[in-house]
């Protein structure tokens, strides 16, 4: 249902040209937020961001009645949000930053999860946690994490090298095929993956083991007796990883790499003619995106301690893409918001019988989530194709400078010709590669 909307929505948004301003424009909340955020200095961004992250981290501990979920554990929902947010950030590098429509991103998620599963599950012939294995049971998950990221990144390289010469629709079709191939391999390599039976008892971080928590705080079924259960711990772990990944991706975006990605997204031919090695940078985007997807997959495998092919259906790719498009392609904070919406809303309605002053069948609403997301995407494409928090508001480019100018802080544009990301001065400072 949401599949065609997600697939066709993206090129539409891309083709959409900035419209000329018709007098005073009303600024939407998302744009207002982005303008405000971009107008802050880096230390102020930290000063605002850190308390916000702490508040977010405390959300599943406090579980405010109106916000917490009733049909399912709120900690688990937040953990799921953390993983999807990580995926959205990774997919955003590929789709939002570089403009490569990847419909098989779930394939990378699966590769990451299966790497952890194959190396640490006792069901797997490649299990390394038992006798004679080189992984200690206690540290297995953490040790396998970088391996999972590396292998997923390599799979991105293997997929990208032949396919990134294709463009647009063709690339979308090939990546769609890749996602299915990974799932079908997992389903059919019975001797390796046990097919549909899946791999169970996947390793997870053994932290905080005690008398009350035999297997540590990350083990399934852990609870401190209050609100803090294993889901909350997984959420905290994914928050930590999100911050690290955001720092890395953010630095890339502000660098020459990011400028190359944006140029490729805008016009690949023009980018090549300006001397951007387009193939190399597309491959980089693919590999980095894949690595982040693999990281999320490894988290997922550890959390549910069980990997099975049905978790990696194509519909998940669409859901990931939905998060990116909904939140705002190209904007890191936007896609995290998109991930939150995609994960939280269905779970919010799950098991609820009343919403505001209506009596509702929450389970039915949750069941039809793909229908609702499909509809939401269609509505979004009509009214706000750039997403909730877009990468850059139409026409009001250089939002930060205009914002500052509007507040009378800086009206002279000519002192620094390069603007907020200072391409000019960095380029001048950079001596040849």
């Amino acid at each position: 249902m949401s599949t065609p909307a997600a697939a066709s929505g993206k090129p539409q948004a891309r083709a959409d040209q900035p419209k000329p301003a018709g007098g005073k424009e009303k600024i939407a909340i998302g744009d207002r937020f982005r303008l405000w955020w971009n107008s802050l200095s880096r230390p102020t961004q930290w000063a605002v961001g850190v308390p916000f992250i702490i508040l977010l981290a405390l959300l599943p501990v406090v579980r405010p009645p109106g916000i917490s979920t009733v049909g399912t554990d709120f900690g688990g929902v937040m953990a799921q949000f953390g993983m999807i947010a990580l995926i959205a950030i990774g997919l955003n590098v590929v789709v939002g930053q570089t403009g490569l429509l990847d419909l098989g991103y779930v394939g990378f998620y699966a590769v990451g999860a299966y790497t952890v599963g194959l190396l640490t599950s006792p069901d797997s012939p490649w299990n390394q946690t038992g006798d004679g294995g080189w992984l200690s049971a206690k540290w297995a998950w953490l040790a396998v994490l970088p391996i999972a990221v590396a292998i997923t990144a390599i799979s991105g390289l293997i997929l990208g090298t032949p396919t990134l010469r294709l463009r647009g629709d063709y690339l979308a079709i090939v990546t769609l095929g890749f996602g299915e191939i990974v799932r079908l391999l997992a389903d059919n390599l019975d001797t390796l993956t046990r097919g549909g039976q899946g791999l169970s008892q996947v390793a997870y971080p053994r932290l905080g083991e005690s008398d009350t928590a035999m297997n540590g705080v990350f083990a399934a079924g852990y609870s401190n007796g209050g609100n803090i259960n294993n889901g909350v711990w997984w959420f905290w772990l994914s928050l930590l990883l999100i911050v690290l990944v955001l720092l890395g991706v953010g630095n890339l975006e502000r660098s020459r790499v990011g400028r190359s990605w944006v140029a490729i997204r805008e016009d690949e031919d023009a980018a090549e003619i300006m001397g951007v090695p387009t193939f190399r940078f597309k491959l980089w985007a693919f590999v980095i995106g894949a690595g982040i997807g693999g990281l999320s997959g490894a988290l997922y495998a550890g959390q549910v301690q069980f990997v099975v092919p049905t978790n990696f259906n194509v519909i998940n790719s669409m859901l990931f893409l939905c998060a990116v498009v909904l939140g705002g392609q190209g904007n890191k904070l936007g896609v995290i918001l998109g991930a939150f919406i995609v994960v939280y809303l269905p779970n919010y309605f799950l098991g609820r019988t009343e919403f505001l002053w209506w009596n509702i069948n929450g389970n039915a609403i949750a069941d039809y989530k793909y229908l609702f997301f499909g509809l939401a995407l269609i509505v979004l494409m009509i009214f706000r194709p750039q997403g909730l928090i877009p990468v850059r508001q139409k026409l009001m480019t250089y939002g930060r400078q205009i914002w500052l100018a509007a507040r009378g802080k800086r009206t002279k544009f000519d002192d620094n010709p390069a603007g907020s990301d200072k391409p000019g001065s960095t380029a001048a400072a950079e001596v040849s590669r």
Partner: protein, 285 residues
């Protein structure tokens, strides 16, 4: 207007660009059947031809976007036949592509900054100087610095494409149909600026359908037809060459010399059936 002595093709010293027997094919269809041309340092050279003559294909092959099926491209004494497009940019072959190819979502300033992506400035002062030069050539771009490239008019986008190419400080500037789709007033302006850029010392290879404007401003010109160079000579001489006049300037046919119809060799062919066909061998002399 252009070089001191436009009647004398600058043959002294090595050519900046030398193409010999370049053939390019799209799949099994050959679009260029082995063309040869040279561009000397400081020259303004024009390629003229009708639609489908292979002008843009030539440009794309020179900038490395299309591979050659045979032939050689020598730039500044180096064989660049197998060089990738982005490496050619670094070497100094900069193209302002047909249809402008500005980055629609980037501002004018950001577009210009993409220009020196592969050819970095040694110092901030050099950057400022180059930027100032572009803005003085195109004051309109200065006014529109903060505007997104995609929201500008066709003429402004063309200016931006040329300005962006200039930010790379090209050793050879390839201009592909800068007059395409523009109003006559703007065309005049663009051509004036192209001459100015050339006089400031930039070597230019120009592809045009607007033969009148292009020939009157260029040192030398090549006339292309169906993937071959059929005539070459000094720009102003070709301008008065009867066969060229008839085929590309619309003179001699019923319509008189209207610049907007200049690039219509088909008009000549249609005008006089057998006479048009008889004219073709003449051109090849």
């Amino acid at each position: 207007m252009s070089q001191p002595d436009p009647n004398q093709p600058t043959t002294s010293g090595d050519p900046l660009l030398e193409i010999s027997n370049m053939a390019v094919a799209y799949g099994r269809i050959e679009a260029l059947h082995g063309i040869s041309l040279t561009v000397n340092p400081g020259e303004l050279v024009t390629l003229i031809g009708a639609n489908g003559a292979g002008k843009t294909t030539t440009m794309r092959a020179i900038s490395g976007i299309l591979p050659l099926s045979s032939g050689r491209v020598i730039f500044d004494g180096r064989d660049i036949t197998r060089m990738k497009a982005h490496q050619r940019v670094a070497a100094g072959i900069i193209q302002a592509p047909e249809g402008r190819g500005v980055f629609p979502g980037m501002t004018v300033q950001e577009n210009l900054d993409m220009g020196h992506y592969a050819r970095k400035f040694d110092s901030k002062a050099d950057y400022d100087e180059a930027l100032e030069r572009v803005y003085s050539l195109f004051p309109r771009l200065l006014e529109r610095r903060k505007q997104a490239g995609g929201t500008m008019s066709g003429g402004e986008q063309q200016m931006l494409a040329i300005g962006r190419a200039l930010m790379a400080r090209p050793r050879l500037l390839l201009l592909d149909e800068p007059s395409m789709g523009l109003a006559p007033m703007i065309i005049q302006q663009i051509f004036r600026i192209i001459s100015e850029i050339n006089q400031q010392g930039t070597t230019i290879l120009l592809v045009e359908q607007n033969a009148q404007q292009a020939l009157s401003r260029s040192d030398r010109a090549y006339i292309m037809e169906t993937g071959e160079v059929i005539k070459t000579g000094v720009g102003k001489e070709l301008l008065v060459d009867p066969s060229v006049k008839e085929a590309y300037l619309g003179v001699g046919a019923d319509s008189g010399s209207d610049t907007s119809r200049a690039a219509a060799p088909a008009a000549g062919a249609v005008a006089g059936g057998a006479a048009g066909a008889a004219e073709r061998p003449d051109l090849r002399k």
